[in-house]
Amino acid sequence: MENIAWSAFDVLLITATLSLAWASLTTEHLRRAVIFFMAFGLLLSLIWLRLQAPDVALAEAAIGAGLTGALLLAAVADHQKPINQKSVRQFSLTDVVANTFLNLLFVAFAIVFGTAYTFALNDVNDSRLTDIVFQHLPDTGVSNPVTGVLLDFRAYDTMLELAVLLAAALGVMAIGKPRRDFVKPGDMERGLSQWLIPTLIILSLYLLWAGASDPGGAFQAAALLAAAGVVMRLTGYVNGGLPQGIWLRILLVSGIGGFLLVSLIMMFAGRIYFDYPESWAGSLILLIESMATISIAATLVVAYLCGQPDYWFGGKQKENRDAD
């Protein structure tokens, strides 16, 4: 009976994911596409759980619905069709050929996806690098293998990922334009923000702390913190919780700064970059993770604000704040 239940669950996951993906790509209405994409993110998180990857499931749950959804909605809002314009479509042969080709491509992809999913479900005990990781895991000071790999064995990769995030944040701040105003937030939104934002912050801190031994970690915690920033922006706090000027820059660089600090300390202590001393490994990892969390969260909120928070120009855009 359990197998039937899990097979039903699997069938639901595959068909629903594929149909949501197809619908979100082929629909004409952009906001509808974003809503399909949010549901798709939810299903993707369930798929990750089914493939026994709870860390990725946590990250996908936090980012898919909350962050990416909100970001895409804000982007779509600038592209609404005017109310009087009808969309006139005249089908041509090119349209038909392109449609058929794309649909066939999608069917091919669906087959590949279904096959890969089935293999992944039945192939769980294949070891590859898993044995080596578990053999050396006690040296890292943490017991969650994902955290151990990300922040000890492959710490260099994670540091460079944070550098990429910083570059992305700089790009967004350089070319982003300020957002339009939202509909004026009412009492409902203020009430929501009063319990939602602390809950998100506490959940984020919990995931950061639990990342050492249970699924969690810096990125998941950062995604929840960024969701808190998005909620702040949506409920009337125009800066999304970000500070002004120099403090924003400090927040953005603290992720890669933490990595560099620890690696330089290790270098001066006579070791190679990320060769943590064993008794200090757990604490160093927690330190790096905390700094990475606030940095990633700040980057994501900057990306959502699509540019500078209000005070960047020394209060130049204050009149927007009054309209909220």
């Binding site: 009976m1 359990e2 039937i4 239940a5 899990w6 039903a8 669950f9 639901l12 629903a16 149909s19 949501l20 619908a23 209405h29 906001r31 509808r32 809503i35 399909f36 949010m38 549901a39 939810l42 998180s45 369930l46 759980l49 709870p54 499931a57 946590l58 749950a61 936090a62 619905a65 909350g66 959804g69 909100a70 909605l73 804000a74 809002a77 609404q80 069709k81 005017p82 109310i83 957002r179 339009r180 105003d181 939202f182 509909v183 937030p185 939104e189 929501l192 939602l196 809950t199 998100l200 959940l203 995931l207 639990a210 249970d214 699924p215 969701a227 998005v230 909620v231 949506l234 409920t235």
Partner: protein
């Protein structure tokens, strides 16, 4: 007990599919928002059932995150930005 929980999981899968139909059909954005709320809650239910079936307590963490983010998604969808000429869907 495991058999009963498995049957419960199948019932929740059916409920999820019904909610998905509303996501695809629902003529207005509010219908889709409601359907997203329903499938979010059904996913939370499936996750906590799954954690009892598989003895995987990390599923409940994912359920917590999903629960909170359903509120964030509803907030993002309802705070539409002010465009004078906006046409729904």
């Amino acid at each position: 007990m495991n058999t009963f929980l498995s049957i419960a999981l199948i019932v929740l899968v059916v409920s999820f599919i019904l909610g998905l139909i509303r996501v695809f059909l629902g003529p207005s954005t509010e219908d889709r928002m409601m359907a997203i709320q329903l499938i979010g809650t059904t996913a939370v239910a499936m996750l906590i059932l799954g954690s009892a079936l598989l003895n995987m307590p990390s599923s409940i963490d994912v359920a917590l995150v999903l629960a909170v983010l359903a509120a964030v998604a509803a907030l993002a969808l309802s705070r539409q930005q002010q465009t004078r000429t906006s046409q729904d869907d």
